[in-house]
Amino acid sequence: MAEQTTDKFKPFNVDLWKYDGQAGALIPLLQSAQDTYGYISEKAIDYISHVTGIPSADIYGVVTFYAQFRTKPLGKYVIKVCNGTACHVNGAKGIADTINDELNIDYDETSDEGAFSLLSVACIGCCSLAPVIVINDETYGRLTPAKLRKILRSYKQKVKKEAQTATDQG
């Protein structure tokens, strides 16, 4: 499916776009592109350039300036490690090291089979639960390396099962 979208780029949902020629629309356009596709592909940049008349190189400059924009797709399970001050003083580094060791991915990387992505985020607002990670929408707090390892293994099991069902069906 991923190939399809990159090979033959479908124009964005017009409703999402609402581009009316106003200046300052570039960032909202990029945000809707990322919302739709999960990341910003080269084709998306070219398409936006075509619509707005802003040179692709300038758009690329904006994309790479902001932390929010990704030029590669994310994994199925996105692990966000909180690196706010409270989590830092409560051992966020040990948490990242454990994920690194268990899943073999570093910050801003996605595991080979596309199952996990690891991101670092600033305060997610539950400092009382520090150190904290969020996997997709689920928050896990007051972590220790041992506790975290158990959680990660349960996700690995899940991935394995999903892969199994996929092969069974296909």
Binding site: A23, L26, P28, Q31, V89, D101, K150
Partner: protein, 585 residues
Amino acid sequence: MKTVKIGLGTCGISAGGEKVYRAFQDELKDHPDAFVLKETGCIGMCYREVLVEVSNGNGTAHMYGEVTPERVGRIIDEDILGGATIDEWLVSGEDREVGFFDRQQRIVLRNCGIIDPGSIDEYIDMGGYRAARRALTQMKPEEVIDEVVTSGLRGRGGGGFPTGTKWKFTRQAPGDKKYIICNADEGDPGAFMDRSILEGDPSAVLEGMIIAGYAIGADEAYIYCRAEYPKAIARLRQAIAQARKNGFLGNRVFGTEFNFNIKIKEGAGAFVCGEETALIASIEGKRGMPRFRPPFPAQSGLWGKPTNINNVETYANVPWIILNGGEAYAKYGTEDSKGTKVFAMAGKVKRTGLVEVPMGVTINEIIFDVCGGIIDDKKFKAVQMGGPSGGCIPASMCDIQIDYQQINRTGAIMGSGGLVVMDETTCMVDVAKFFLTFTQAESCGKCTFCRIGTKRMLEILERITAGEGTMEDLDNLDELSEQIRAASLCGLGQTAPNPVLTTLKYFREEYETHIKEKKCPAHVCSTLLTYTINEKCTGCTVCKTACPTDAIFGEKKTVHMIDQNKCIKCGKCFTVCRFDAVVKD
């Protein structure tokens, strides 16, 4: 009828608030007439989330802390239906934890945790939009500005520039088209004041902006909000739509000649966009890089037009000031700093969360009287104020007052309100490194000293925490700090050395211990530690397999040992151990 109110700020949601809400919803199906279910924003006691308040309908209320979906059944049976409070889960109502609210003075947070932020009617019931109505229908713009000047309100985003003066400049700037911007790009790690205000009482911010727009003569406004705050953005959208329906936004506000519209711009994740000229560039759709000032935004801001930028907390103060008068506001605080300040309490303090105190209270009072002191009653070491632009104030100096001047004198800054408490287990060199890593990554790269200078400083700190530092490094840190401060365009670069300078000033001996004795007194810097294995070890051999230098030995199912001569202190055994058997010292 009883009312059940659940705190659904981001803090409450992270702790599982939505699941608790759904559990109450399910109960509501079985007992539809027993209670009304409502949500509210951050109550402030983030350390006891999920918080559930039960009001009896006769004016009395009590609150339960650490509620889980499993506990909902008992609350329904015993309290809602049975009429008996469950004492062991209470956090307030009788005499519990009163200290937390006793010393606080809630002006900005007046509605947070009380009203349903999704309902403009509840905001209006609390006196909302009365200030805007009064300003627009009974006051001249100059009178509004005078009231703000009298209040002594200063910018709460960190800079501390007098708000009334800023408004005056923008009003006096020539030009018909002017803009209002609300800076909601709260980016300091450890700071969540603005988010809680936007989530808990978005209309207060909108009302402050409407008043500001009227005062300076602007008809268009932007709220630049972090995309990482989806809940706050949703709340704002809702509040704007409701305000428009009520005639508080749009054309002919309150039936006057004044037109005013507010748009939301989502930030895209760049800390430097908290700086006003970078923020403006970002709204214009460009890379968010600061530019030289003057001209200040008050003369030439968004699209080159006069623009007034204030932060969320500043605007949230304004309706209260118009309604109660500038003099009432100026009664709180010190000679130099008036009113109240909201702080996000985090770190090693018992009660983490959101507090609002009058200016002039001491740091010690906030930590010990309001927030209950240090976790496990460990030794209080320092507070970090002002995030990456601020500094560390040692415990011995924490009898100073919350006051712009007094805090600046320590080398820290008031900042936007992140207050991180540190105890004896926090390494000050590591803290300096943490903040510098942040500013290094967030430097936009425009100014050489900020881009490269912070990198060199970070390398020095990395050497020191790895036990490879020299005494000369300390002098280099000082020198680089001065150069970065002098040669950077914006606040990010100018203040980036502050965490290093303050820790060097107050905790120099800790740096020297790292350098001379190659020890980390707080046991944080991993390469300077000694790893050992205790009797919890089950002999599972996982650490032995993980050790990159074969430093771990021992038979299967017997307690393992570490050969200190071979150990390279990578800490791998500590992270792989599932039995917490590896200890660092």
